[in-house]
C-alpha cells in the first residue's frame, strides 16, 4: 500500500506568497555564492542535495486529501479537501473520460475543509464513474448536497454525472471494502470525527486526523494505542504544540506532535506522519517542528525507532 498526499494543510487552504518565495530565493542564492554553479546540472545537484526541503520546496497548502494506492482496481481516498482537485485532475489525465473508474472515499468528517474539494474533483462530472462516499456521520449525504446547493455553488449535486453512493459505516465494525479491511473509530472533535484503520496483505495504515486527545483520559489513550497497534504508518493530526493543545486551544479538536509520538511509541508504530498542518505555520516553522519531533522521539525512545515524517502535498509513503 502506498499513500499519496494531495492536501496536508489544516482547517483552510493556504498559498505561498510572493514574499515567502522571495525569501526562499534569497536563501538559495546566498547559499550558492562561491560554489561555481555554472551548469544546469550543478545547479540541480545543489538544489537537490544542499538545500533543505523548506527552502527548495514547500509543504503545500491544500486541505486534507490523501489517496491510497492498492493492488486492486478500485481507488481509495481519505477526505475530499481542496487537494481533491489536483487528485481528480491526475486521475483524469491517467484514465481519461472513456474508462470508468470506482472511487471509495473515507470521510473523517464533513467540516468544510474536508469536503470543499468535492465539487472540483473532476471524476464526479464523468458519466460511468462510481464514487462511494463512506463515513459514520448520518449527515454525510446532506453535507455534500448542501455544499453544492444554490447560492453556494453553480452546479447542484443532482447535476453530477457520476454515480454517487453513500455508505454509512459503524464505528468499531470492520468492513471489507476495495480489498481492504477498514475499521472506523470515533474521535474527539466538534461534531465528531472518525479515524480509519486499513489493513491488507499484512500491512496497516491508520488515517487519524481532526482528533483531539485528552492526555489525562487513560481509557481514551488506551483505545487509541490499540487502534494504532503495530501500524506501518499513522497519519496523525499534529496541528499544535502541546502547550497550546491543552490550554488556549483545548477543545479545538486537534492534537500535537508530542502526543503523536507518545501514542505511536506505545503502539509500536513504524512511521508517524504528521499531518493537518497549522495554516499559520510557514515552511520553515513546519520543518523546525519536524526536527524537534524527531529529537523528542530520540530522547524518549525505549524500543525500536519510530520514523517521523511531515506530510507535504506530493509526498508518497509506502507501507
Amino acid at each position: 500500500m502506498k499513500l499519496r498526499f494531495w492536501g496536508t494543510r489544516g482547517s483552510i487552504p493556504i498559498a505561498l506568497t510572493a514574499p515567502a518565495i522571495r525569501g526562499k530565493l534569497i536563501t538559495a542564492l546566498s547559499g550558492a555564492i562561491g560554489r561555481g554553479l555554472d551548469t544546469p546540472e550543478k545547479i540541480a545537484h545543489y538544489v537537490d542535495n544542499d538545500l533543505s526541503f523548506d527552502v527548495r520546496g514547500t509543504f503545500g497548502g491544500h486541505s486534507s486529501c490523501v489517496d491510497l494506492v492498492t493492488t486492486g482496481d478500485e481507488h481509495v481516498i481519505f477526505d475530499l479537501g481542496s487537494g481533491a482537485r489536483p487528485l481528480g485532475q491526475a486521475m483524469l489525465d491517467r484514465y481519461g473520460p472513456a474508462s470508468p473508474q470506482t472511487y471509495h472515499v473515507f470521510m473523517s468528517h464533513v467540516h468544510w475543509d474536508h469536503i470543499m474539494g468535492f465539487p472540483f474533483f473532476a471524476p464526479v462530472y464523468i458519466p460511468g464513474n462510481r464514487i462511494v462516499i463512506h463515513g459514520c456521520h448520518d449527515v454525510l449525504e446532506a453535507a455534500f448536497r448542501r455544499q453544492q446547493a444554490a447560492p453556494s455553488f453553480p452546479v447542484d449535486f443532482s447535476q453530477l454525472a457520476a454515480t454517487i453512493e453513500f455508505d454509512l459505516m459503524v464505528p468499531g465494525k470492520r468492513q471489507r471494502i476495495a480489498g481492504l479491511d477498514v475499521t472506523p473509530k470515533l474521535q474527539r472533535h466538534e461534531g465528531d470525527s472518525y479515524g480509519y484503520r486499513v489493513e491488507a496483505n499484512g500491512k496497516c495504515i491508520v488515517y487519524s486526523t481532526d482528533s483531539e486527545h485528552k492526555v489525562d483520559d487513560h481509557e481514551e489513550r488506551a483505545s487509541f494505542v490499540e487502534f494504532f497497534r503495530d501500524a506501518d504508518i499513522v497519519v496523525f493530526d499534529a496541528m499544535y504544540a502541546l502547550a497550546d493543545a491543552i490550554s488556549v486551544k483545548a477543545d479545538w479538536g486537534h492534537s500535537s506532535n508530542i502526543v503523536g509520538v507518545e501514542l505511536c511509541q506505545a503502539a509500536g508504530v513504524r512511521c508517524l506522519c504528521m499531518y493537518h498542518h497549522e495554516p499559520a505555520y510557514d515552511d520553515e516553522r513546519i520543518a523546525a517542528v519536524l526536527q524537534e519531533t524527531r529529537r523528542f522521539e530520540e530522547i524518549t525512545r525505549s524500543g525500536p525507532p519510530l520514523q517521523i515524517v511531515s506530510a507535504y502535498d506530493g509526498l508518497e509513503l509506502t507501507a
Partner: protein, 117 residues
Amino acid sequence: MDLKPTHQGSATVLSPAGRIDHATADAFQGALQPHVDQCKAGHAPIVLDMHGLDYISSVGLRVLMMAARQVKTQHGRMVISGLTPLVKEVFEISRFNLVFELFEDRRAAIAALGSDG
C-alpha cells in the same frame, strides 16, 4: 508522591523526582494540589525544583499547565528550576518553556522571587 516540601527564603520549594508519566501523573497531581491551592497573592510562591526529574510526559505537563492556570487566577506565582538538559528539551519542544519562568537552579529561582518581592 513525596515532593519533599521545604521553605527557603520566601518560597515553598517542591522537588519532584524520577519520572512523571501515565503511571505517576495522578500521584504528582495529588501531591502538588494542596500547595497550588495555597499559592495565592500574599502567600509563599512555589519553586518546582526539577533537578531530580528524569522525564515528564504529556500527562505530567498537563498537570503543570493546570497548576499554572490556577496559580495565575489566584494571583500567586510558581516557577521552575533545575531542569536537566533532556527535560529542558521536552519543555522547549512542547513550548512549555513559554508557559513557565525557568531558572538554572533553585538558588537563582529563590533569588529572583526574593528580589521581585
